[in-house]
Structures are given as structure tokens and as C-alpha cells.
Subunit: 168 residues, 2 copies
Amino acid sequence: MPTIEREINRFQDFLARQGQKLTRERTALVREIFATHYHFEADELLFKMKQKSLKISRATVYRTLELLVKSGLVRRVHLGEDHYHYEHVRGDSHHDHLICTACGAVIEFNDPELEKRQLEICARKKFTPTFHNLQILGVCDSCHRKGEQPASPDHVMSIGEGAMRLRK
Amino acid sequence: MPTIEREINRFQDFLARQGQKLTRERTALVREIFATHYHFEADELLFKMKQKSLKISRATVYRTLELLVKSGLVRRVHLGEDHYHYEHVRGDSHHDHLICTACGAVIEFNDPELEKRQLEICARKKFTPTFHNLQILGVCDSCHRKGEQPASPDHVMSIGEGAMRLRK
DNA sequence: CTTGCTACTGAGACTTAGTCTCAATATCAA
DNA sequence: TTGATATTGAGACTAAGTCTCAGTAGCAAG
């Protein structure tokens, strides 16, 4: 299914609407982002592009990610580490994250009941919500079986390694 | 009510338990943190100490904040900006945040129903939670009256200015 | 299918938030 | 009072991300 072409079209529409252009670099980035799944970091994306010998500068990667977030094609999330992660959005599958502080696993979940309760809270506080971000940190099932301890608060400070990193 | 002394004692107990010492600098920081309310940034704290001509280095501020988080006296939170904020913990008043993307206001709320639902979700996923972090971004009542628009996704990228900042 | 206005790109300097190092100093148990 | 050891400050360093500007590329109009 050539859905990626559709995402590229959507992006082009978004860009055209504000007099912006769809470039070779932007197309390549959208292709990469929608071809692979799961959460990624900006530097990771930069690295992958480099591996494919598509030389795209750091500035362009960051600029394009910003545009993609604005267009709604990509979501920017906090995953317990001290920098952002990104994930592509297909359809309207909103979800939040359970994050294992032992192995770094990220489990997605969607719970309409929870969302509803959040709206009720907002209504009570006369607050007009547009977006939310929920991370639950803890220990996943398999780590729990291995006897990993429920983390103490300091685990919140820094969670295991992400994927490969790159700089220069 | 001289509660601050009690917090200092708690901190000292925590430190003593691992052979660490309560120093002049640490005491001064705890005093400052518990004397003022609301969320603050590390640099803001550094600045305030400098204003009071208590010269405490950046390194010590960060190191002490880390200890305070580990001890449970301080909580480290994300407030929609790209760096951390801290808030002191008194008793066990857990809460989450509504953040106005127009004026930067932060409204705290606590909803046992919501917490309960989160536990249910964790149980369903066989996940052992230890901590969570929920931010709801949107527009507060007074900004809404002033006709501020519900933010588009790009507002999520950067929210208005925090308090004063300082560097060197 | 050429042109030209304008947006886009890359290289690298810069910024911000935070961490690390190490010699000098302070804490606190004995 | 002492001394072993934890702590501090200054500033170098790092990570993640932003900015600048000259050269390049999209794309709408002709």
C-alpha cells in the first residue's frame, strides 16, 4: 500500500497553503519517517539519512521536523528522557505511553475513558484543552519477572540508553 | 510555622543514611525552595541565590536538586517547555498540570478518579507503575475570554516565556 | 521550457541547559 | 581537635538544538 505517497501529498498541500515548497530533502525525510515505525530522535533520523548517503544537514532535519509537527503529520513527545522523541501520526490514533525504567521499552495505549475524564477535569477548571501528554513510568511485565525493582524517584532523572546516537 | 526546619531535618536524615553531609549550601537551597512556592527552573534558583549574595555555584545547584529529587522532597516536572521545572513536595500532594499556551499559567489539579483509571490501565498491561507525568495544554479561562485562540499543534513546540533567566 | 522571484539548503558558529573535573575546603564522628 | 571523606566553585566540556548567510532549487507565470 503506497500510503507514503499520500502523506507526501498531504505535506505538500500543507506547505503550499503557506507558500512553502516541497523539496527533495523534505520528501526524503517524510519517506524515511513513514517507512519506519516507532519513536525516534532527531539525531537518529539525521544518522539514518547519512547512512543512505542522502546528505541532509542537521538544520534541515530540525526544520523539517518542526514543519511536520505543525502540519500534524508528526507528533513530538517526551518519553522520560531529557530530549524530545518524534512519532508519525497516521489517521487520528492518539495514544499515550507506558515507559519501562528498567529496559526502556515504550508501550502505547489508548483509553477513551481516561481521555473523557481529562475533559471533565478541564471543564471543571474552565480550561479549553488542545493537547495532552501523559507518560507513566514503571517496570514492564518481563522486567518485573526478571526481578527488576520498581524504580525509586531518581530513576525518573535518567532512563537507559536510546538508540544509536551520532554527532559529527 | 517553622516547617522548613522539618524539611531540612528530613533532608539531613536522607543524606546521613548514605554517608552524605548537610552543608551550608544545601541548607540554603532547601530554605529557598521551601520558602517560595510554585514551579521554578534550576537557573532561576541559581539567580535567586545570587541576588541574596549567597554565592552558590551552578554545579552545586544542580547537584543539590538531584539529591532533593532522590530524597523525594522535590519533584521534577515537564511543563511543556524544553527543559525541566521543579516543585517542592509537601506531604504527599500529588498533582498534575493544566498549562495555558497563551499566558503560560500553570494550574494544578488532583483527580483520584483519573489516577485510579491509570492504575487500571497499568494492570491491564501488566505494568508496575511508579510515577507519572501528565500535562494538559490548552487555554485558560481568562485567556479564553480575551479571545485567545485554542493553540494549533505548533504551540506545543514552544510556549511563552518563563520567569527571568540568567547565565553568567 | 525559460525565467525569476522566493523559499530552501548546508556549513558551521552559536546558544542553552546541564555535567564533569580537580584542587581547595568544610562537615562531622571519634 | 582532628582527620577521613564528602563537598564546593570555577570553568572546561557536552548534548541538543537554533541561527546566519551565501549559494541553490522549486515552481508559477509567461
